[in-house]
Subunit: 409 residues, 2 copies
Amino acid sequence: MKMFEVSSVAKAKRKILDHFSSFRLDDELVEIYDAAGRVLSEDVLSKNNIPHFRRSTVDGYAVFAKDTYGASESLPAFLDIVGEVHMGKGAEINIIENQTVYVPTGGMIPKGADAVVMVEYTEMLEDESLAVMGSVTVKENIVDIGDDIFENETVLRKGQILRSQDIGVLASIGLDRVKVYKKPTIAIISTGDEIVGTNEEVKLGQIRDINTHTLTVMAEQLGCEITKKTVVRDEFDLLQEELKNSLKNSDIVIISGGSSVGTKDITRDVIESVGNSEVFIHGLAIKPGKPTIIAKVANCLVLGLPGQPVSAMVVFKVIVDYFVKYIQNIENEIKYGIEAKLSSNVHSAQGKETYQMVTVEKAGDEYIATPIYGKSGMITLLSRAKGYIVIDMNKEGILKGEKVTVYRF
Amino acid sequence: MKMFEVSSVAKAKRKILDHFSSFRLDDELVEIYDAAGRVLSEDVLSKNNIPHFRRSTVDGYAVFAKDTYGASESLPAFLDIVGEVHMGKGAEINIIENQTVYVPTGGMIPKGADAVVMVEYTEMLEDESLAVMGSVTVKENIVDIGDDIFENETVLRKGQILRSQDIGVLASIGLDRVKVYKKPTIAIISTGDEIVGTNEEVKLGQIRDINTHTLTVMAEQLGCEITKKTVVRDEFDLLQEELKNSLKNSDIVIISGGSSVGTKDITRDVIESVGNSEVFIHGLAIKPGKPTIIAKVANCLVLGLPGQPVSAMVVFKVIVDYFVKYIQNIENEIKYGIEAKLSSNVHSAQGKETYQMVTVEKAGDEYIATPIYGKSGMITLLSRAKGYIVIDMNKEGILKGEKVTVYRF
């Protein structure tokens, strides 16, 4: 029997870097409305100052600050109201000392003025003069030119995943389109003589295809474009044909099932048969997910994943996530999780990075993570889980009561 | 000057429940491939046992467990190999005592057998007999009928947001379509005489529209369908027209800008002018976001949000998130965050729920959250932030060094 030469996850990632260091993803221009979740392929600079005119942050009166010094309710400063600024219009009036102009929130500050007194601290008198009953300092209640964004400032960086607020920044500087990486393309092939689709009848010995569905959803959530999703029988020629076709238009090809070293496991042989291919990992020190194949074929990442749904999802999460972020220059992100206390000991095999599914419940002020177990291949193991915890390969487990971070699948 | 009657966020939520207790969102059948992120409108039961036949979890030999008791390398048990089970086929052979059949991983266990011996613990002899060099217990290496899912078991519940693994469960029980709530529909209207779109020229006194963009992306990420996104001038008739039209086909109407109590703030008057409307909140004890209007018009939630981009996003996050989850029966979720230590004191106004933007950096084994500040209306305040922390309305702030949880916008 062939044996695995098991690699650590860290080593697998290093080898992916080595093999794909010259990989380049094309970019494309997209409308900013369609750009959320996409990844910038170049830095974005602002051509303008934002704001490009001085704005008031309050409803009030634009003044020379020094005209208000010492003003109080008992001893107001009196200024001449010489006009009003309208929203969305230039402030055409300039003021000189002892003059003032009404400016609404967001309105333009007229020339001369260097502060705004909130309307609450003023009183308009009958003869178009204003009593100011408080003092303001220079620049008070004013957003200056470029205070938000300077001309030529880099507002967003290459490799950044665009969030709603980043789309807001793009809108604020007047960009209607932005350059992002093309979505990584991915083909998802499930193999297995026992696998049938959702519309077919399930006979004895057969089970329904799960992996095509779960991996497709994961790939879409990761921002990939699906070039193919299909189920094929465990036949060398059929699988080879599907792989060859997928290589033509995909950055990533996933084959789930047949990745182990049994007599019926043909994935490795098929990958090696198509030419210009190198299997550089067969066997990953991860649990679940050991029988994993990682290969480069032409310029494409080809993964052989275990057929067990949970294993396939775990390896996808670890390896495909990593690759998709790498080829889009996404920096290693701080991941959001749930800090919880473990409700019972979790044992793990030293030398393997272990992914343990858990439920999470609130107990008083803290969260309790409870490991859940199931026999190999049970999909409900995942659907019952809130998320997973990762146990380092150098540990033998985590003890009851220890703090863990639960991540989302 | 009109004044706010400020309500706490908790009170606002209670009032929303009171006013929308009879709100019903329709449901629809969608293909499971399109169902990720959607919300189940009814419980899902499995019609079948999964698996519906006994499966082997290993490559090995199906046996009567008791035939292996006491077997060891020095004293193997010898069994007659009477056949082989093929993947995806029924096991047509029944075994009797002292017989065995080869079964691949995932293959069907033949009748009679009650355990599987891993191939590693066996040796096939020349005369079609098998030496078994270890013992197995009853049910060892077998997934029983219904072990994953029982017939009539509720596998997923109403109000559940469908994740990749849940789609996998739906696939495993043979559902190709599933009943989910229709996407909540939302119209987004930004008002302001100073606001221009991304394709227009910006003159002095004008700024570009941000809110339509940020709120649209947030609404989409929340699973809503956008019925309208538009910018209108601060004119009563225009805004009334847009609101009336939006009410016809939207569950939620957002009007950003003009939500305060100044002379130019017309949102409340417009909402009250359209008939069958009730403004039940004007003024929210939240920072930023105080000048917020919450109303029910016919059967529609109408929100007046502050025009400042950060305030608008914060209130959207708090109120629209809540409403969208409520009308889809989504249970109060445990939110993923980042546990961090605060790098400096954050002051907050007691009596207001405060949303403070922070950056997050790794320092050794822990994360450090640093508050970032900016003048009112700066969008870069959000784009520079990793997320936000929430300071309870009963607190006056959080001290440097305290633990905080950072949430994603």
